[in-house]
Symmetry: C2
Subunit: 579 residues, 2 copies
Amino acid sequence: MIKERIEKLRKLLKERNIDAFYITGSDAHQSEYVAPRWRGREYLTGFSGSSGSVVITQKRAALFTDSRYFIQAAREIEKHGVILMKSGTSDPDPVEYIKREAGEKANVAVDASEISISEFRAMQKALSPLTLTAAEDILSLIWTDRYPVPFSPVVMLSDDITGEKSSDKIERVRDEIKKKGAAWTFISSLDDIAWLTNLRASDIPHNPVFYAYMLITEKEAILYTDINRFECLDNLPFSVKPYEEAISDIENHIAGTGYINDKRVSMSFSFLEKYSLIVGRDVTTDMKAQKNEREMEGMRKAHLDDAVSYVNFLSRLEREGAGDEIAVSDMLEREREKREDYLESSFSPISAFASNGAMCHYSASEESNRKITRGLLVLDTGGQYKGGTTDITRTLLFGEATEEEKRDYTLVLKGHLALSRQKFIKGTTGCQLDVLAHQFLWNEGMSYFHGTGHGVGCRLNVHEGPMNISTRLVDVPLLPKMVISDEPGLYKENRHGIRIENLIAVKEDMNTEFGTFYSFEVLTLVPYEKRLIDMSLLTEIETAQIDMYHERVRKALMPYVEKDAVKYLEKATSPLKEK
Amino acid sequence: MIKERIEKLRKLLKERNIDAFYITGSDAHQSEYVAPRWRGREYLTGFSGSSGSVVITQKRAALFTDSRYFIQAAREIEKHGVILMKSGTSDPDPVEYIKREAGEKANVAVDASEISISEFRAMQKALSPLTLTAAEDILSLIWTDRYPVPFSPVVMLSDDITGEKSSDKIERVRDEIKKKGAAWTFISSLDDIAWLTNLRASDIPHNPVFYAYMLITEKEAILYTDINRFECLDNLPFSVKPYEEAISDIENHIAGTGYINDKRVSMSFSFLEKYSLIVGRDVTTDMKAQKNEREMEGMRKAHLDDAVSYVNFLSRLEREGAGDEIAVSDMLEREREKREDYLESSFSPISAFASNGAMCHYSASEESNRKITRGLLVLDTGGQYKGGTTDITRTLLFGEATEEEKRDYTLVLKGHLALSRQKFIKGTTGCQLDVLAHQFLWNEGMSYFHGTGHGVGCRLNVHEGPMNISTRLVDVPLLPKMVISDEPGLYKENRHGIRIENLIAVKEDMNTEFGTFYSFEVLTLVPYEKRLIDMSLLTEIETAQIDMYHERVRKALMPYVEKDAVKYLEKATSPLKEK
């Protein structure tokens, strides 16, 4: 099947004099998660992972993916004759590979709709003297039963939930781009558009966004998406035109300098490059990151609901036990589904027991699903609620903990606590605070290699920018009402994994003669695993911080947890040192 | 006098059709500290501070300087009719000022030798559509008794001190630039040249560098400096040509791609821009920053000498008292002068009592010199020794401390200690570690606004790059044998200042399954002020860290301090909690 597909594609490439075809694996909006239509990578190689690119030449088909997927990719692609190029090893990257494989005069092509202007221009430069062409959608010519662009119905969120009318947001966008010297902006990023329009849909699982483009000029606001998504088009503060018409229609509406995010706008819109352009991240990305008070209330309510479900789940787990990884995450999902405001999970849950937990992007499959015996379980899950989004990781203990497990858990917890209790002066970025989460592990010669914190949307994507907390130097200050995760971890190969994650929100703390200071409000309300805490490693401040948090959790949840969970909650939140 | 000078200059500008003349205040090598020849700023405005630029038009003369100097500048320049433009306020910067002042068609000029290529190109762009010209040295035409370029005698350091022959360093430079794709490099930075040649001189007070340029090609190495500095030219691994000939001679020796630091090479060498150029910081800057083992030994020995002097001084101060700020720093200087290897101070000492200490760049003058009564004294000093360079700040207490002083000192000390005891994974930058020094102050709504740490040369400049520890995001990892300061502070206007500074060196600590980890070796060996420590604010780890440091100090210094200082040293280094 896959071999046939590749041969069909090769024929089309030959006809078009294309020596190498590059498939980015992205959708037309550079989304982190894509609708099935854009699973061309899987269609051509059999690889079902969520990250990677493909290069097809007349002789070879190669998949490029990272260490998370080396084993899975090899298993899935080799039977189809596709070769694996391991990113981050001595294997060539796509550019090096194409140069080596396709010869010095090769014509290279990529589907214009699947590559951002920024990536295309960088690749063009790197491939030189080879030519890179932004081509038509060749894949669809062979993929005859390709999924269409999904156009699920949209719902308009009430002002109660969004806290700001779409018309007001559009006016703010106009002000922002004007300040930057631009007369219009074209937005391709789906969660930016969802935020701006106050619309939500279900085109992509877990991410309540919808495929669309948005054009805002001084006078007009046009949403390009399927018109049939709407029950009613009245009273919208923007006009709606068909998705496919964006390319041909935009130029009827723009004049003067434009503002675009060339990392998100695809090469299908490269005609915009003939205008004077200011390039930067979408202004909506910064606006969206700082929640308003109504959104903060929605986030707090979502976290309360989520915590009630979580404690009910923990209590049930203790009473009833759970057979395997999938059974555990299913049990939690069932508890979440009991909340009135719960919509769906905010991402595919990670439930990873014992050594599976040491693979920090492990996802349990029917095959890998592991029985729960003695050991640690990393449980990273989250929910979409009517008014907000949650993302929480707890490391659960089954049976008795080893000294090593307790020590590791406590060191991760100390970093998690240090970050969330730190106050910081206005202007501070996430990369400046990151060491607070790493410090105790580093002192013991240990570390983790994922980010410490990512931004989280409000009833939107569980990953959003522009800020983060990471060792990468990202120059974006943390500002009030930004919601971000605090999730240090530790992964010991073939032994165990640990991760502890709360969502925290930046808040104003104090103004002094030295300036304005911010601190974090902890949104997540679920107890830590006290049986995994090595008290001898805690300072008095840390002990007090845990006890205060647990007291807050107990008071917040007690009125709402089910009767059977009351005793569990009392025990789980009692002081570390019983007086 | 100054008015006359400005009038003379204006006449010359008019003849040359120059509407605005910009004086950067830099020397021809963009040195932090300059020889008197380059004090054109002071010659034309009367301002004696160490930082600022000047714009002269037919109508006005304006000085641009930062908040450290607002009061001093106003006092010094206003009597000469020069106006003050306060940097970092709503006042215009030089570019805005020139645009406003000199009209839309103005010709702007700057002495080519005093502006870097990088700064010139940026300013040219910012001034557009005005024209900016890199002009001849017009100032020297009116400044007839201007100081010459200083050419003090050079000394060649022995291999014992440098640990690496100049010829080997030159070979390493050739390797480095070859890796970057360049065939030659032209170096203008004075401390880079001193390091590369293993030569030292005294052209600039405190900084043992000498005015020179260095050209390294695949076959040649040419030092452009005064030939008469040398007692003997035999056996040098480079040829020596006159300083003035650099401009005309270089092109006889270069071909192909060059490597330059356009932030340090002046516009006098703008002819280099016609070559293919790779631009970056001088490769010597990175090489110099990582000391070799011999240099580390020299640094350790210098710090031992410095600490012996310091403790002798502290003991004398306790016995004899000191009348005023200058008397205190003089007393310390006299103790340093007793060490055989001591050469000179490594910068102009800061001795700032009580509220003077709250001005973090205060320098005591005859006028400001303050009597020592009760309170805190910030004493920031350092020495040049035969084999190394020191930089130390201690905050001394006279009389009894207030609760506020103790709390402030302890919070600063906690940050200072946290930074120096942190281990960190390879690849970590200074800006990632900075929060460790700020964290306790920020939690109390306090902060300081200078860098936490700067690189320090070995028998070289007390400030050197490329790494630092600061809230600015500088993407330079800390590497083994880099020497850097650890100097958090706190400045309360009209009350007191506090700063605690040690030099620390990066060292390899451990290799684990998670990677390579580094830690810091503390070089400075002088007790903290125990009477300023609020024990209730210290954790057990901090108490142990202080006690261990003091024990190390006592053991290291006891054999060397003078008899009268033995008791002082014992008392100053005894454990915080006497058992």
